[in-house]
């Protein structure tokens, strides 16, 4: 039991960054996204029995928890439109931040141009490397629809990327 709990903690630590990236795409900024991930972590640590290993892997289950928490927070906060420069997280340190901001500038603009649903599926696949089955679990959609949803999102992102890259 203790070993399992340790393993879960270890896996949660490795999932934190990806979960935060996903939450940023929904919440629109790093701080609110970190709050959502923190809430999800608290839920798992306080009630580890909520996760049943026989029902599937921890990764999609936890990401779904984070996504649901984000949606809950959004319902309460009713945010304004997402600012484009908040969808990636350059982090602290002005020099490093400037370098990353410059590298990811067009991607940020393109991500902001597509819908939150499209951003989520692209991030789950291309940033977090989830399989189609896992994506279906996180987004609570039929597995057979993932490929078409993802492709539409990629096409939209490609169109936006070309527009801002010119």
């Amino acid at each position: 039991m203790l070993t399992q709990s340790k393993e879960i903690r270890h896996e949660l630590v490795s999932l934190g960054s990806g979960a935060h990236a996903l939450a940023i795409q929904i919440m629109g900024n790093s701080d609110d996204a970190a709050d959502a991930v923190h809430d999800a972590l608290t839920t798992v640590l306080e009630r580890p029995q909520a996760y049943a290993a026989e029902k599937g892997a921890l990764k999609p289950w936890f990401l779904r928890l984070v996504r649901n928490r984000c949606i809950d927070l959004l319902r309460r906060r009713r945010p304004a439109d997402l600012p484009a420069d908040e969808l990636t997280d350059a982090g602290p340190g002005p020099e490093k931040a400037a370098e990353i901001a410059d590298r990811d500038r067009v991607l940020k603009l393109a991500l902001a141009a597509i819908s939150p649903d499209q951003r989520q599926i692209v991030v789950l696949r291309d940033y977090m490397d989830l399989s189609y089955g896992e994506i279906a679990e996180v987004l609570d959609v039929a597995p057979g629809t993932v490929m078409s949803r993802l492709h539409r999102s990629r096409v939209a992102l490609a169109v936006a990327y070309r527009k801002y890259d010119d």
């Binding site: 903690r9 949660l12 630590v13 490795s14 934190g16 960054s17 990806g18 935060h20 990236a21 940023i24 795409q25 790093s30 996204a33 970190a34 709050d35 991930v37 923190h38 972590l41 608290t42 640590l45 306080e46 309460r76 969808l87 990636t88 997280d89 350059a90 982090g91 602290p92 990353i100 590298r103 990811d104 991607l107 692209v122 991030v123 696949r125 291309d126 940033y127 490397d129 399989s131 189609y132 490929m147 078409s148 993802l150 492709h151 539409r152 990629r154 096409v155 939209a156 992102l157 490609a158 169109v159 990327y161 070309r162």
Partner: protein, 150 residues
Amino acid sequence: MTEERRIDEHVGELLSGFVDGELTQQEQQRVQLHCENCKACDSSLHEIRALREKIGRSQLSALGQDEWRETMSDTAVKKSYGIGWLLILGGAVLAGAAGLYEVFTEPTTLTQVEKLIIGGLYGGMLLLFVSVLRQRLIERKTDKYKDVEI
């Protein structure tokens, strides 16, 4: 014809499945053959691959494993802090109740006046506790800044 339409025709969504390795062998061959003869789809395939690489290399979150480890320790500390207080309060209430029971039921050397004073002290503490609890509950329901984290 819009740009979006151009990129989506022909093998369409199978391009994404191809890039992600989620197609059957038969579908993979179909996409491969099609792209060999169709410049538009071949170019879309390269575009999807390039975009996938860009996203994979980007930094969408600046919080690394150390930060999340710290956050989780913080969560564990908060949890043990809460349990600690609960145990102390529970213990104090039980000890108080046992003391009170003994004073009023067991034969002791205390006079009626002394029993009254002890009863008054216990009653006062209970009243204070109830009034503070009530105030906290009212604040919790009406405080508009309750979600603000300091």
